[in-house]
């Protein structure tokens, strides 16, 4: 393999994407420099097998050490997400349970009209609380995906609260944003699997079905409109499961620490 030095470095650099991002950010430039030095010496006849042998050796080295580095990183992440949540996070989980119960309350009790706004505020605060609590653990696994999953749902809940509390804006658009973003949060949470997947699944399906119950979509007379009631119940159960998981999670057995 007799690629020009610059091309060889670019090819080698492309393989460094196999390493975790933090490792790459820290050492990629040095590794490319070391690769450059090693290949230079191999070309000069200082290594057995010449430059072909050096390429094979260094690509094998990338394959083995990238895997080990990722396993090590996953162990570190596993350690951080197996620790018991601190009290403030547990309280967020409790608020989430209250929000879920507030959703179900409409099916179980005759709630006076003047308390409806308070009930909806409790629901929104409950959703925000669980999203924030779940995000803390999810971010340890995938910071970007966790943020993409949580941020729209928090913002949409905040928007809905503004509509409720200050009567600014339309319920229609706020509701659209809310149920779509919450369904998305459920999907991301299910995908990450850090908190209960049953809860995440119930939230995702429930929010999607609830979305079809928005009056202006004109689906309320269809089967989808009927299913929206089931969706609301499913979503309530989902928030209760997620909140309960966060509030009651205990310290899991973590792998032993290793040294170098």
């Amino acid at each position: 393999m007799t690629l020009p030095a610059g091309v060889g470095e670019r090819v080698y650099r492309s393989f460094l994407w196999l390493y975790p991002a933090d490792f790459r950010d820290r050492f990629a430039e040095e590794m490319v420099q070391l690769f450059h030095d090693k290949l230079r010496d191999a070309r000069a006849g200082g290594a057995p097998g010449g430059s072909v042998g050096a390429w094979i050796t260094m690509l094998g080295d990338v394959a083995v050490t990238a895997v080990s580095e990722r396993i090590r990183r996953n162990r570190t992440v596993a350690h951080s997400i197996t620790s018991a949540p601190p009290m403030p996070i547990r309280l967020l989980g409790v608020v989430g349970i209250v929000g879920g119960v507030a959703i179900l309350a409409a099916f179980l009790l005759a709630i006076p009209a003047d308390l409806q706004a308070l009930r909806i505020i409790l629901i929104n605060l409950g959703m925000i609380a669980v999203i924030l609590a779940a995000h803390r653990r999810q971010a340890a696994v995938s910071p970007v995906l966790a943020l993409i999953g949580a941020a729209p749902a928090v913002l949409a809940n905040a928007w809905y609260l503004v509509v409720i509390v200050f009567s600014i804006g339309e319920f229609f658009w706020a509701g659209m944003a809310l149920w779509i973003s919450v369904a998305w949060f459920g999907i991301v949470t299910f995908r990450l699997g850090v908190v209960t997947r049953w809860g995440a699944l119930a939230v995702a399906i429930g929010a999607a079905l609830t979305f079809t119950g928005i009056d202006r979509l004109g689906l309320t007379s269809t089967i989808l409109g009927q299913l929206s009631q089931i969706g609301i119940v499913a979503m309530a159960i989902g928030w209760i499961l997620l909140g309960g998981d966060v509030a009651t999670r205990r310290q899991a057995t973590s792998p032993p620490d290793e040294v170098s």
């Binding site: 390493y19 490792f23 820290r26 050492f27 430039e29 040095e30 590794m31 490319v32 420099q33 070391l34 690769f35 450059h36 030095d37 090693k38 050796t57 260094m58 094998g60 080295d61 990338v62 083995v64 050490t65 990238a66 080990s68 580095e69 090590r72 040294v259 170098s260």
Partner: protein, 118 residues
């Protein structure tokens, strides 16, 4: 009681890690220098690649056994991408503890292993 005052209480480091620590030795070395020195002190038995060198250096940095050096022996002759590493006090203590462990092993094996090995 910290690890520096009781280095023998520090968990044994991996074979690659002790090779890298000894390769750095009392000097400051960059990655390629470490790689060459490891090959030299092991008579070529251990040949690390860039990944092997830097995954080990990362772990040693995390454990506080080495640190990055600010100094550059000759900036004009050196590529700016190079970084130099040196042992910390804890790193030296751990090497000393590891040498002690190896000495006791050698002492235990020497009376019979060298005889039977001819």
């Amino acid at each position: 009681m910290d690890a520096l005052s009781q280095p023998q209480r520090f968990p044994p480091v991996s074979r690659t890690a002790i090779h890298v620590l000894i390769a750095i030795g009392p000097e400051e070395r960059h990655g390629y220098g470490i790689m060459q020195e490891v090959a030299r002190i092991t008579n070529g038995a251990t040949r690390l690649g860039p990944g092997g060198v830097y995954t080990t250096l990362r772990r040693l940095l995390d454990d506080g056994l080495i640190e990055e050096s600010d100094g550059r022996p000759d900036a004009d002759l050196d590529d700016q991408r190079r970084r130099y590493y040196r042992l910390t006090g804890l790193g030296r203590a751990v090497v000393a503890a590891e040498v002690g462990r190896l000495e006791s092993l050698v002492d235990a094996a020497r009376p019979w292993a060298l005889e039977s090995g001819g």
